[in-house]
C-alpha cells in the first residue's frame, strides 16, 4: 500500500474509533469499565476484526498487512482505548500458534470465536514439578477412541476460574525422552474431571489457580501439531508470549499514575533541589539510568535487526534486566515510603501508598514467570556466549 493510501487508511481508522468509542470509556479509571458501553465497543472492534488485525478475514481477522495493523494499534493506543484483557491468551498466544500449526478444520473452529472475544482461554503449562524445567511435565493423556483421558495437575494457570477452554501440555508418551512425549491439546474447562482451585498470592490477588484433572476429556482432533510433537508448538507459543513482555512499558508499574521520581521527591523531600537522602538519590538515579539503558538496548537491537547487522540475541537479557528493573523500582519506592509502604487496609495510608504496597508484592513474581532470572542467565550462557556444557 502506498504512503498516501496508508494515510487515507489512518484517517478511516481514526474516524471509525471516533464514531464508536463511547464517551464513558474515554475518561476515568480503567478498573471499572461500564459494562454495556464496553460490550458495544468490543462489538464495534470485532466487527472490523481489529482485535486480530493481521489475521485473515475468513477467520474473523482484519485481513490487514503489517503496516495497516500497526496503524490500527497506534490509533487505538493514541486514544487509550480499552481492550478486553481476557482476550490476550487467545489473541496473542493461541491464535498465532493455531495459524501456524493448526489444520484448516481447527482454524475454522477456534479462530473466529477468539477474534470476536467470545471464548476465554487459559494456559495449562506449569505443574508443581515442572516450572523452570517445563519439559518434565507429568500430566498424562491416554488415547481412548476419539478422545484422550487426562489426569494430573497444572499450577499458575492465570484466569483458570473464568476460562472456557485451556490449551494444555500433556504427556502422551511416557517412555519417550522428555521433550518427545508431549502433545499440545485444547480442552473445555466446564466438564466433569476438571477442578479449579484459585491460589491467593502474597499481594492478595487470586488470578492464578491450580487445576486438577481426574479423567477429564479432550477430543483427539483437538491436538495442535503432531501427537508427541507438542514441545515445538509450546515453545513457539512462548515466543508469542515473550514478544509482548517488552511492550508493556514497565508492566504492572505502568498503571501507577505517579512516577517513581515524583514519589521519592515527595516522600524524601528536596533540600536546595537535591534529595535529602544521598543514598536514596543514588538508588533513584541508578533505577532511572537502568530504565534508560534498557530502552536504548531494545531499540538498538531492533535497529540492528532492521539494518541486517549481525547482533547477538538479547531476548533473554531483556527479560532478565526488565524483571530486575521493575522489582528495583518498587524497592526504591518502599525505601522512600518507609512504614507508609506497609499498609494493607484501613486508615492511615493513601491510595498511592496502598497501590505501591501491592505493586511491590506483585512485582516479586517478575523474576519468576516467563522463565526465571536463573533460566534467562542459563540461556545467555549457552546460546549467546556458547559456553561449554
Amino acid at each position: 500500500m502506498s504512503t498516501e493510501n496508508l494515510e487515507q487508511f489512518r484517517l478511516e481508522v481514526r474516524s471509525y474509533i471516533e464514531e464508536h468509542l463511547p464517551v464513558e470509556l474515554r475518561v476515568g479509571t480503567r478498573k471499572d469499565l461500564p459494562r454495556e458501553p464496553f460490550r458495544k465497543w468490543v462489538g464495534a472492534l470485532t466487527a472490523r476484526g481489529w482485535l486480530t488485525p493481521e489475521w485473515p478475514s475468513e477467520y474473523g481477522g482484519g485481513g490487514l498487512d503489517r503496516k495497516q495493523a500497526a496503524i490500527v494499534r497506534a490509533e487505538l493506543k493514541a486514544v487509550r482505548a480499552p481492550l478486553p484483557g481476557s482476550a490476550s491468551f487467545g489473541v496473542v498466544m493461541l491464535g498465532p500458534t493455531i495459524l501456524e500449526f493448526g489444520t484448516e478444520e481447527q482454524k475454522q473452529e477456534f479462530l473466529p470465536p477468539i477474534s470476536r472475544d467470545e471464548v476465554r482461554w487459559c494456559q495449562g503449562y506449569s505443574e508443581p514439578g515442572a516450572g523452570s524445567d517445563l519439559a518434565s511435565l507429568q500430566t498424562r493423556a491416554v488415547r481412548e477412541g476419539d478422545e484422550y483421558t487426562i489426569s494430573g495437575q497444572k499450577i499458575w494457570t492465570t484466569g483458570a476460574d473464568k476460562a472456557d477452554w485451556m490449551f494444555c501440555l500433556v504427556r502422551t508418551d511416557p517412555d519417550a525422552p522428555k521433550h518427545d512425549g508431549i502433545s499440545f491439546v485444547l480442552l473445555p474447562m466446564h466438564q466433569p474431571g476438571v477442578e479449579v482451585a484459585p491460589l491467593t498470592l502474597i499481594d492478595g490477588n487470586a488470578d492464578f489457580s491450580q487445576v486438577f484433572f481426574d479423567g477429564a476429556r479432550a477430543q483427539a482432533k483437538h491436538v495442535i501439531g503432531p501427537v508427541n510433537g507438542g514441545w515445538t508448538v509450546a515453545k513457539r507459543l512462548l515466543q508469542h508470549e515473550r514478544s509482548t513482555d517488552g511492550g508493556s512499558e514497565g508492566g504492572i508499574t505502568g498503571a501507577l499514575k505517579e512516577t517513581l521520581v515524583d514519589l521519592v521527591k515527595r516522600e524524601v523531600g528536596l533540600e536546595n533541589g537535591v534529595l535529602a537522602d544521598p543514598v536514596i538519590r543514588q538508588r533513584l538515579a541508578s533505577q532511572e539510568l537502568e530504565k534508560r539503558a534498557l530502552g536504548l538496548t531494545m531499540r538498538r537491537a531492533m535497529e540492528e535487526a532492521r539494518a541486517g547487522q549481525t547482533s547477538r540475541d538479547i531476548g533473554s537479557l531483556g527479560k532478565y534486566r526488565w524483571a530486575n528493573m521493575v522489582k528495583d523500582e518498587q524497592d526504591v519506592a518502599m525505601l522512600s515510603l518507609g512504614t507508609q509502604g506497609l499498609g494493607w487496609s484501613g486508615p492511615g495510608f493513601d491510595d498511592k501508598q496502598l497501590e505501591r504496597t501491592k505493586a511491590f508484592l506483585t512485582t516479586r513474581a517478575d523474576s519468576i514467570w516467563g522463565g526465571t532470572n536463573e533460566v534467562q542467565l542459563n540461556v545467555i550462557a549457552k546460546r549467546v556466549l556458547q559456553l561449554p556444557e
Binding site: 538515579a285 534508560r292 536504548l296 538496548t297 549467546v384 559456553l387
Partner: protein, 379 residues
C-alpha cells in the same frame, strides 16, 4: 544518526581494527611501559594516526580536521581501547583539543589546531587539584597584570602533561574554590617562565604530570571562552571528553570480556572446563548484559553530540556512570575468573584491569555521575 554503526563507520572500524592489530598489539603498550619510554607513547604512530585523519575527526576542515562526529571518533577510540594503545587521544583531542575548539578563540585555533590534527602538537588540560573529580574545585589563581594575567597554583593528574607543547589551564579569576562562576581558561606554552612540569607514571602505564605555576605570565589574547565564564567551555569539554573516554572503555571491555570468555572455555579444573560451572556461567552472562547496556548508552551519547541534541550532559553522565561500574565489573571478574594467573604481570588481563581502573576514576566515577544525572533531572 542512531544507535547502530553506519556503513561508513563499519568500514572505518575494520580499518582501525586492522591498523591497531598490526601496529599496536598489547605487547607494544607493555614494551613502552617496561622501557619507561620518555614519551610514554609512540610519536611516529601518533603521526600515522594523524595522516589517517583520525586525530582530526572532530575538528573543522578549516584547521585541518575531518569535520566528522563522535560516531566516527568513537569507533577509532574503541579500537584503540581494544589494544590499550596509549596514544594521547584523551589529553590532546578530547581535553586540550576540545578546549581550543569550544573556546572559540579563532586565532588560537588557527595557530594550534592544524599541528594537533597532524599529530605533531601535543596538548593537555590542567584542571584537577584534588583526587576526586570536582571540576570547579580550582584554587589556582589568574591575577590581572596589565594586558594579561599571572598564574599561581598547582595542578595534578595532568594527562600527558610531560610532553605537552601547550597546556590549557583552568584558573580562578573570581570567586572561590567550588564555585562555577569565576573560572577562566588560558593557553600556556610549555616553555613559559615559572612553569614546572614533573612527570609521574600511573598504574596503567600512562603518564600524568604535576604542573606548578609560579607567577607565569599569559597574554589576554590566549584566553579560551569568556573571563569568569570558563566553566561554560569546561562543562562542554568534559561532556565530550567523558563520552570519548567511554568509547575507549567500550573497546577495552570487549577485549577483556572476550579474553575472559575464552579462558572459561579452555581452562580445566576438577576434570571439566570451568565454563561449565553455573556459578561462572551466570556471572559471565551478567558481564555480557552490562557490556550490551554500556554499548547502548555510549552510542546514544555519541549521537547526542552529533545530532546536537540538548541532552548531551545527561547522556555523558548516563554513559560514564554505567561505564565506570562496568569497568569495575569486567576488570574484577576478568582477574577473578583467570584465577592466580590473572594476578601475574605476564597475563594481559591485568593490563586491562589497570587501564579500566584508571578510566573508571578519570573524569568522574559512577557516584559522581549518578549525582550529576540526578541534579540534571531535578532531584
Amino acid at each position: 544518526m542512531g544507535l547502530i554503526l553506519t556503513e561508513d563507520q563499519l568500514i572505518l572500524r575494520d580499518m582501525a581494527k586492522d591498523f591497531c592489530d598490526e601496529k599496536s598489539p598489547v605487547e607494544r603498550m607493555r614494551a613502552l611501559r617496561d622501557a619507561r619510554d620518555a614519551t610514554g607513547f609512540s610519536r611516529e604512530l601518533w603521526k600515522e594516526m594523524g595522516e589517517l585523519g583520525w586525530i582530526g575527526i572532530p575538528f573543522p576542515e578549516s584547521v585541518g580536521g575531518g569535520d566528522m562526529g563522535y560516531g566516527e571518533l568513537g569507533v577509532v577510540l574503541s579500537e584503540c581501547g581494544r589494544v590499550l594503545a596509549p596514544e594521547p587521544f584523551v589529553s590532546t583531542v578530547l581535553l586540550g583539543g576540545n578546549a581550543l575548539l569550544l573556546g572559540a578563540n579563532e586565532p588560537l585555533m588557527k595557530e594550534l589546531l592544524p599541528d594537533v590534527c597532524s599529530g605533531e602538537r601535543i596538548l593537555c588540560l590542567a584542571f584537577q587539584e584534588q583526587g576526586r573529580f570536582a571540576p570547579y574545585a580550582v584554587e589556582t589563581s589568574a591575577t590581572r597584570d596589565g594586558g594579561g594575567f599571572r598564574l599561581q597554583g598547582r595542578k595534578q593528574f595532568v594527562l600527558d602533561g610531560h610532553v605537552a607543547d601547550q597546556i590549557v589551564v583552568a584558573a580562578r579569576t573570581a570567586g572561590s574554590s567550588g564555585e562555577r562562576d569565576g573560572l577562566s581558561l588560558f593557553v600556556v606554552d610549555a616553555s613559559a617562565e615559572g612553569l614546572d612540569v614533573q612527570r609521574s607514571e600511573l598504574l596503567d602505564g600512562r603518564n600524568a604530570a604535576v604542573v606548578s605555576f609560579d607567577d607565569v605570565a599569559v597574554d589576554a589574547a590566549r584566553t579560551l571562552g569568556e573571563i569568569d565564564a570558563g566553566a561554560e567551555v569546561l562543562d562542554a569539554v568534559f561532556d565530550r571528553a567523558t563520552i570519548g573516554l567511554c568509547a575507549e572503555m567500550l573497546g577495552s571491555f570487549e577485549d577483556a570480556f572476550e579474553r575472559t570468555l575464552a579462558y572459561l572455555k579452555t581452562r580445566e579444573q576438577f576434570g571439566a572446563r570451568i565454563g561449565t560451572f553455573q556459578a561462572l556461567r551466570h556471572r559471565a552472562a551478567q558481564m555480557f548484559g552490562e557490556l550490551e547496556f554500556a554499548r547502548s548508552v555510549v552510542r546514544d551519547a555519541q549521537s547526542a553530540i552529533d545530532d546536537e541534541r540538548d541532552d548531551v550532559a545527561e547522556c555523558a553522565s548516563a554513559a560514564k556512570a554505567r561505564c565506570s561500574d562496568v569497568a569495575r565489573l569486567i576488570g574484577a571478574e576478568g582477574i577473578q575468573m583467570h584465577g592466580g594467573i590473572g594476578m601475574t604481570d605476564e597475563e594481559e588481563i591485568g593490563l586491562f584491569f589497570k587501564r579500566l581502573k584508571a578510566a573508571e576514576l578519570t573524569l568522574g566515577d559512577a557516584i559522581y555521575h549518578r549525582n550529576r544525572f540526578a541534579g540534571l533531572c531535578g532531584y
